[in-house]
Amino acid sequence: MGREVSESCVESLLIEMVSSYCNRFYADKQELAARRIEAIGYQVGHQLSERYTMERPRFSDHLEAIKFICKDFWSEIFKKQIDNLKTNHRGTFVLQDNHFRWLSRMSIESSPEMVVSSPDGEDKASQAMSMHLYFPCGIIRGALSNLGIPCAVSADISSLPACSFVIRIKA
């Protein structure tokens, strides 16, 4: 359990994974690329949750499991906890991370020319950015699924580097 790997290596690998799937393997099928990336995240989340719940008893209810994701699980992976948790008490949870580690270096240029020249340009940029969120969504889904909670996870970048993950538990 004591071996470590360089964070730059992991981050570079993730960047290349998204780039390969979006620009080479499924260049004109972005939806398919997104699902493949999310599926990889699912496997990773599944195994990580196995590892990080080794000495713990079972979770009493969904809220406890989500709190585990927000605190211990997030700390193990991103060295910080989720900053804000909201729920509608009917199976939907919103996890807000105000400084998501994998988005901390992401940046585009917001010059006035970009906005004027084409609304398309901005959409492409935000789509490229959101491609990088499918992997963490998959991780959350895989982790919860391993804890016995099937769900759907989506993400949204409100303003870099903050982002929120929406978990919808399947009834």
């Binding site: 960047i15 992401m106 917001s110 010059s111």
Partner: protein, 169 residues
């Protein structure tokens, strides 16, 4: 060394801008001569259009490195010119000064060239250029949406660079 139309520029150096920025402008090139980045804080005089300006700058650096390496009286071997070397190794110029500005230069082993033009009384900027290279690594090389070899368009890089340049004495 007088390069750009010496007679038009007054001998006294221009005062720093109201924003307090200590540098005039900065260029970044990659190994292939693509101008990755250009930013100016205080440049009252343009002699050429942007494209020509960048090409001239790149050509100038290439020639200067070649010249300084060939004129080296201490080195026994003539290394492979055009190949980027580790900073400090081999023989490469790092700055030149005129009566109106100082140009500082650094090339990384990956071929990234950083040029910073400041007022003539600036001290040695080699450490500053290394710091700027670190900013490049953090906010450009590690930016998930950056495509290597293309011009740099990153707000984070711009902001951190402006902030740092303001603090150079």
């Amino acid at each position: 060394m007088q390069f750009f139309g010496g007679s038009d520029i007054s001998p006294s150096p221009p005062a720093p801008t109201a924003s307090g920025n200590n540098a005039h402008m900065m260029y970044m090139f990659n190994r292939n001569g693509v101008c990755l980045f250009y930013r100016e804080w205080n440049r009252p005089l343009w002699t050429l259009n942007a494209q020509q300006d960048h090409k001239l700058m790149f050509g100038l650096l290439f020639s200067l490195k070649s010249l300084t390496a060939k004129m080296d009286p201490t080195s026994a071997e003539k290394g492979n010119l055009g190949v980027p070397q580790l900073p400090g190794q081999g023989c490469s110029f790092h700055s030149f000064r005129t009566n109106t500005y100082k140009l500082s230069f650094m090339e990384s082993p990956s071929g990234i060239k950083i040029i910073l033009v400041t007022h003539p009384r600036t001290g040695d900027l080699r450490e500053a250029l290394k710091y700027i290279y670190n900013l490049y690594v953090d906010y450009v090389a590690k930016n998930p949406v950056y495509v290597p070899g293309t011009p740099i368009k990153s707000d984070l890089f711009n902001t951190n660079l402006d902030q740092y340049v303001r603090s150079i004495s």
